[in-house]
């Protein structure tokens, strides 16, 4: 059993207060650093991709999980980040500058898309972002002089200080570094004033105003941060794919991102990462288990999507608080060990609360 207690104010916002947690995370970091030498090539590449999706998922989580604004158009920010980055590389802009500018420009576009959020909210906002994504796909497809249109755009290799970052290992570390930086930055931001203000905007606008939170400002700020982080992920994704076409950034990708944050658990960065891992690995996992099924079933078309849907449904049904919720229960189990009651988290009757007044 573990009892939380603070001995100074600092304790309460410390990130890892107890040594088990510290040790666990230190081990995780070590494992991630060593992974490229320990794992087969294929997995190293897969994990790099996971890192990228984690960054994108973190970006969306800031918006959906912390300010409660749903975006169905985040694939557009990925696309913008990827295209801006690739275009700048092709214009001879150095890699480091290009990736920062890609994030910055995507952030600016996030600002423009965030402006309607001042007036529009909920599902209406989701639709605005969806419309934006469709429009931007349209623009990318038709602005062929810059984007290569539907014929695609080849992405130049990432070179930083004369170092080729496109090799399997170098790219792995690049993605890991970006993920770590984004994660730390967001963790800090969200435990500081800005993060609390986001929560305020999400839970009660009336109260937020009364405490001096400039609600519209923070809503737009969340869009900007979210877009910039997602744009950053887009820039990395460009190097992962090495060849950009507009179809790569459609509605499906947006949905996947939204699935990541909801399955992960809204309102938690850990959830964003867990969700990204689950959703990105699921198709691979399904195709791995397929050969184990009898031929009549495994050769059926539609099996993939059916199983994908089934797994999603099971997750939503049995863990509506997301993977993060599961994690918290697991921790509670460990911390209260002999006293843990199974029905501690049992769900009783629940009733729908209208969200229409928001």
């Amino acid at each position: 059993m573990q009892f939380p207690y603070d001995t100074s104010y600092r304790d309460s916002h410390a990130l890892l207060r107890y040594s088990p947690g510290r040790i666990a995370y230190a081990l995780l970091v070590l494992a991630l650093l060593a992974a490229p030498w320990l794992l087969p090539k294929y997995y190293v590449g897969e994990i790099s991709y996971l890192f990228i999706m984690c960054v994108a998922s973190l970006g969306l989580m800031v918006l959906v999980g912390y300010t409660g604004q749903v975006s169905l158009g985040h694939s557009a920010f990925l696309a913008i980040g990827a295209y801006v980055h690739s275009w700048m590389l092709s214009q001879g802009v150095p890699f480091a500058l290009a990736i920062v500018l890609a994030a910055g420009i995507t952030g600016l576009i996030g600002l423009v898309i965030g402006l309607p959020a001042i007036r529009v909210s909920g599902l209406y906002l989701a639709m605005v972002t969806l419309a934006f994504a469709i429009l931007s796909e349209h623009v990318i497809g038709h602005w062929s002089s810059v984007t290569g249109g539907f014929n695609g755009l080849t992405v130049q290799k990432p070179v930083f200080l004369g170092l080729d970052l496109s090799s399997l290992h170098a790219f792995y570390y690049l993605c890991l570094a970006v993920l770590a930086a984004v994660l730390l930055g967001l963790v800090n931001l969200l435990r500081a004033k800005t993060g609390r203000a986001f929560m305020g905007v999400r839970d009660s606008e009336a109260a937020a105003y009364s405490l001096g939170i400039w609600v519209s400002g923070y809503k737009v700020l969340a869009f900007v941060i979210s877009a910039a982080v997602t744009g950053l992920a887009g820039a990395l994704l460009a190097h992962h794919v090495r060849f950009l076409t507009p179809e790569g950034f459609g509605l499906i990708l947006s949905l996947e991102l939204v699935l990541m944050v909801t399955i992960g658990g809204l309102g938690s960065l850990r959830g964003a990462i867990l969700g990204a891992v689950l959703i990105s690995m699921l198709p691979t996992f399904i195709s791995r288990i397929k050969p184990m099924l009898p031929e009549q079933i495994s050769k059926q078309f539609g099996l993939e999507i059916f199983v994908f849907g089934l797994v999603l449904a099971l997750f939503v049904l049995f863990e509506p608080k997301g993977l993060n919720g599961r994690w918290i229960k697991f921790k509670a189990f460990l911390q209260t060990f002999p006293l843990y009651r199974k029905d501690m988290f049992k769900r009783g009757k629940t009733y729908m609360k209208s969200e229409r007044y928001k």
Partner: protein, 252 residues
């Protein structure tokens, strides 16, 4: 010149005249109660003061500054904090989170330094926390400090809201039915707190209230509204003795 002045404020919702030409002054250090039948426009008046609604006409001044055209989020910066009739807490957070949000109007470092969690930001956080702890202590919230507000009993939630308003270090505090849902014992405690807030912290209080025991115990002056109009204004005793107030509000 008084600390706070409402001048000829009117508010219409379509055909409903929620407030009609209400004027009053509140002096520094006063506890000013607003009473009146349900639907008299009391909450609406607080909403006009805190810029939730634009008044159809009239003006509101605080410390000689016109506040009826401030952006909504700037009101608290001029020193006015409020609570809500139907509790508006941040349900996703703990009591502590809610109170720390009350400190929003004080600087905590730039955006970038927040991302980097610089020593400056950390110091600001700790300072906020120290201030919040004072409020927690004042209002006896220690046992609930780290509880999620979502599961708290109604009465505690009311106190948390009050505490959050206090955390903004206001000079004028607007309370909307602070005693509703409290039992007499708790109401008496609230009276003590209001007393402390007024005497020790020097905060002027305007409260909308239906519990006459609290009003007569805590308030210096009382305004009674009816159908959006001022019905009576005076000391608690005077107002409670006013026959118009008795017929419209108190009952025989």
């Amino acid at each position: 010149m008084s600390l706070f002045a409402v001048r000829d404020v009117s508010l219409r919702f379509g055909g409903v005249q929620a407030i009609g030409n209400v004027s009053f002054d509140v002096e520094q250090g006063e506890v000013f109660a607003i009473i009146g039948p349900n639907g008299a426009g009391k909450t609406s008046l607080l909403n006009v003061i805190t810029r939730v609604f634009d008044p159809t006409s009239g003006s509101v001044a605080f410390e000689d500054q016109e506040i009826s055209s401030l952006p909504r989020h700037m009101v608290v910066r001029s020193g006015i904090a409020r609570t809500f009739q139907n509790i508006e807490l941040f349900e996703g957070g703990t009591v502590l989170d809610n109170l720390l949000l009350g400190r929003h109007r004080f600087g905590h470092g730039s955006f970038v330094s927040q991302c980097l969690w610089t020593p400056g930001v950390r110091a600001a956080e700790e300072q906020s926390r120290a201030h919040v702890e004072d409020v927690i202590e004042l209002l006896d919230l220690m046992p609930h400090r780290n509880s999620p507000v979502a599961g708290l009993p109604y009465g505690v939630r009311k106190v948390v809201e009050l505490a959050r308003a206090l955390a903004t270090q206001p000079r004028l505090l607007l309370l909307d039915e602070p005693a509703s849902g409290l039992n007499p014992e708790e109401t008496r405690e609230l009276a003590f707190w209001i007393d402390d807030i007024q005497k020790d912290l020097g905060i002027t209080v305007i409260m909308v209230e239906h519990d006459m025991s609290l009003v007569s115990e805590a308030a210096d002056r009382v305004l009674c509204m009816n159908m959006g109009q001022v019905l009576a204004l005076g000391t608690p005793e005077e107002v409670q003795a006013d026959p118009a107030v008795i017929t419209a509000y108190l009952g025989a």
